[in-house]
Amino acid sequence: MGEPATKEVLSLDELEAVSGLRTGRKHILSILVENKPGVLTRIAGLFARRGFNIDTLAVGPTDDERLSRITLTLDGALHPIDQVTKQLHKLVNVLKIRDLEPRETLARELAMFKVSADGASRAEVMQLCEIFRGKVVDVTKRSLVIELTGTCEKVDAFEQLVRPFGLIEMARTGEIAIARGRSET
């Protein structure tokens, strides 16, 4: 290509495109929003409109009554996460977004399982429950309701194990998360 045009050489070939990349892993976004009517609709609408799939969504109050925290999980294989967070930031009611680093994050969800458990299987189900540190919160002759908290992976694993016994119903909250240590989420 001939002589360099300037002493300050910068090879265009070496420039790399930034962002827009898919990470291929699960992301937990912790979003601090103003506690005002319609904020959740704005967020849900944004996701629907842009074709971003939400895996789980949990909303609740924070220590500050003017704010709510929304915890979202989504698949970084399907969406460029930076584009998701940039679009979220455009919402005026969104104050802060953290894409939580998995290793520095405590994530938990609550799940309730209604499992058929008569006679022979009952002991086995209760044993599984114990291993997973679940709690039996309701018992009938033919069923148990088990309450379980943990990461979404743990809840998934438990679901797989009790399914063969006859999973009548299941309800899950979706994960909430907080950063480890002293620093703010």
């Binding site: 930034v18 009517p37 930031h89 919402l91």
Partner: protein
């Protein structure tokens, strides 16, 4: 003080000198306040006309436009202008009436969930729940509309709250903790961009509407001419760089010039400024500018790497960034000689493929000729609004806009019926300038009613209808891509635009001779009051060149 009187005070504090609207039950209190507020109110004939007028006003002046409507159908009539303003980043505040709070959620008479309906197409919206919120919300709405990436903001005010009594104190600050647009631009990134430009052999500047919105046209020219960077603009950016400049390649994209599109295709470095890589620009994304690296300057970080991954992103206001980029570039002392080869390649494209058409041999007016005639008749100095269709693309191609805010069109949404009311708004904002509308015979009928507003208010716009008797752009696609099966595009001879103009109290003219066209146009321009000119043009003419939808720039036809 009544909340609506406080609202008037807020509008005045924001420097509002005119609003466009139409009253109804839910905003009767607001209209009572307008009665003696001393703010000019223009009574439109359809809320969509008012919304587009507010857009035209904003685009021509750079100030925030204001449009009002009542609840329900009044509010829903604003949806198209709101969406249009969102797509083209136009600062407009829309104030809608809402049913009384006790009726909310009951399907009350003329209740429409305006906040819900408009949510996907606003920059932000405010549902007033307490009359005390009104002043602050109004100021925040203006702040949001005007700053950062401009856009539409809706304020929905229930009728009972608007007539409540509140203690009014002027608001001097806004409290929007979640809204802090980045305007500065990172100096390190700017330096890298300068270096990239200095090392590029085939650079091109691709500028969009952001340059106009930012008021950075002069700064763009500075940058382009600190070396000899070729410049192209999107349909939204026209006027952001002088259309007569020797470094100007013409518009790019679907109906852009071959020189602009081929230069994008072969560039090694594309400097995008306030542009968003719309599909009408990129064509087939995977084959767009395959050899290029991208500098992307935009005030909206979400635009960066949305469609095309950027190599050097710079978030901020072009007006701040461009002078610093120019300074950094100058300091590098790049050798302008390195662009010789690139320019000779571009000159070949320009010579081989200028914009061209076959002129008639008789008196028939070719549509392209019509735009050239209008350019001549106005001395290239008019504010030009347009509708959507072939006429819009010909206007974009043949009216060499010398300055920003002279070209007012609906680019992102492509809204037929935009032109006439937008011209009205532009004329209200710039009463001393010549304001013309290049209208389509189809489009103009979508907001024709505003001619009555123009007559009543003495708004002297000059509307030139490019009358081909067709929904021409659709006919062109049917001709080219659907085997000439013309389905529902022929509009016949109706209406008689001259009679219609007269019925509206405007002057109506019909022109069909190319030999006298320029002088006839001059006469129309010199006629007092609103004028509607029915210009009969070739019926079946195609807008070329063209990149067929979804194809790469290389495949331009025509």
């Amino acid at each position: 003080m009544r909340a609506v009187d406080a609202l008037m005070e807020c509008l005045k504090a924001e420097g509002v000198d005119v609003v466009f609207g139409l009253p109804g039950g839910a905003n009767l209190p607001t209209y009572d306040a307008f009665y003696d507020a001393g703010i000019r109110h223009i009574l439109v004939r359809h809320e969509a006309g008012g919304g587009h007028a507010a857009e035209g006003y904003a685009k021509a002046t750079g100030k925030v436009g204001v449009a009002l409507a009542t609840s329900g159908p009044g509010a829903t009539n604003l949806i198209t202008p709101i969406c249009d303003a969102m797509m083209d980043s136009v600062p407009v505040v829309f104030i809608t009436g809402q049913v009384r709070t006790e009726l909310l959620g009951t399907d009350g008479f003329q209740e429409a969930d305006m906040i819900g309906i408009s949510m996907p197409i606003v920059k932000h919206s405010f549902m007033i729940q307490d009359p005390l919120e009104i002043p602050r919300s109004i100021h925040e709405a203006f702040h949001l509309a005007r700053t950062g990436r401009p856009g539409p903001v809706v304020v929905d005010i229930p009728q009972d709250l608007s007539r409540a009594d509140i203690p009014y104190e002027p608001v001097s600050d806004v409290r929007l903790p979640g809204y802090q647009p980045t305007t500065e631009g990172n100096q390190k990134q700017i330096r890298i961009a300068a270096k990239a430009l200095a090392n590029a052999r085939r650079p091109i500047i691709y500028a969009g509407g952001g340059v106009v919105a930012s008021g950075a046209a002069a700064e763009l020219t500075e940058l382009a001419t600190c070396d000899r960077f070729p410049v192209t603009c999107t349909v939204m950016g026209l006027g952001g760089f002088p259309g007569t400049h020797e470094q100007w390649l013409g518009m790019l994209g679907m109906h852009g010039t071959r020189a602009a599109n081929y230069a994008m295709d072969e560039a090694d470095l594309i400097c995008a400024i306030g542009a968003r890589f719309d599909d009408r620009v990129t064509g087939k994304l995977s084959e767009f500018a395959p050899r290029a690296k991208f500098i992307h300057i935009d005030i909206d970080p979400a635009e960066i790497s949305k469609n095309v991954p950027a190599h050097i992103p710079i978030v901020g206001d072009a007006k701040n960034i461009l002078p610093r980029l120019t300074a950094e570039y100058r300091a590098l002392g790049a050798d302008p000689g390195r662009l010789e080869e690139w320019w000779s390649r571009i000159r070949v494209w320009q010579e081989r493929h200028p914009l061209r058409y076959e002129d008639s041999t008789d008196s028939e007016i070719k549509p392209q000729f019509m735009i050239q005639a209008l350019y001549e008749a106005t001395g290239g100095e008019a504010i030009v609004s347009s509708d959507v269709g072939q006429h819009q693309m010909w206007a974009a191609q043949y009216y060499n806009f010398p300055r920003p805010r002279r070209w007012i069109n609906s680019g992102g949404l492509g809204t037929m019926g935009f032109g006439l009311p937008a011209a009205m708004g532009a004329k209200v904002g710039c009463p001393d300038q010549t304001v013309v509308c290049i209208a389509g015979d189809g489009s103009v009928q979508m907001n024709m009613q505003e001619l009555a507003t123009c007559s009543q208010e003495g708004i002297a716009i000059k509307v030139f209808i490019m009358n081909n008797g067709y929904l021409g752009m659709v006919r062109q696609w049917q001709e080219l891509f659907w085997d000439k099966r013309y389905s529902q595009v022929d509009m016949g001879q109706w209406p008689d635009f001259v009679k219609l103009a007269e019925a509206y109290g405007a002057t109506g003219l019909r022109l069909d001779d190319k030999h006298t066209l320029v002088s006839d146009m001059k006469e129309a321009l010199a006629t007092d009051g609103p004028v509607l000119v029915d210009v009969r043009v070739t019926r079946e003419e195609n807008t070329y060149p063209m990149i067929p939808a979804g194809q790469p720039a290389r495949n331009m036809v025509g």
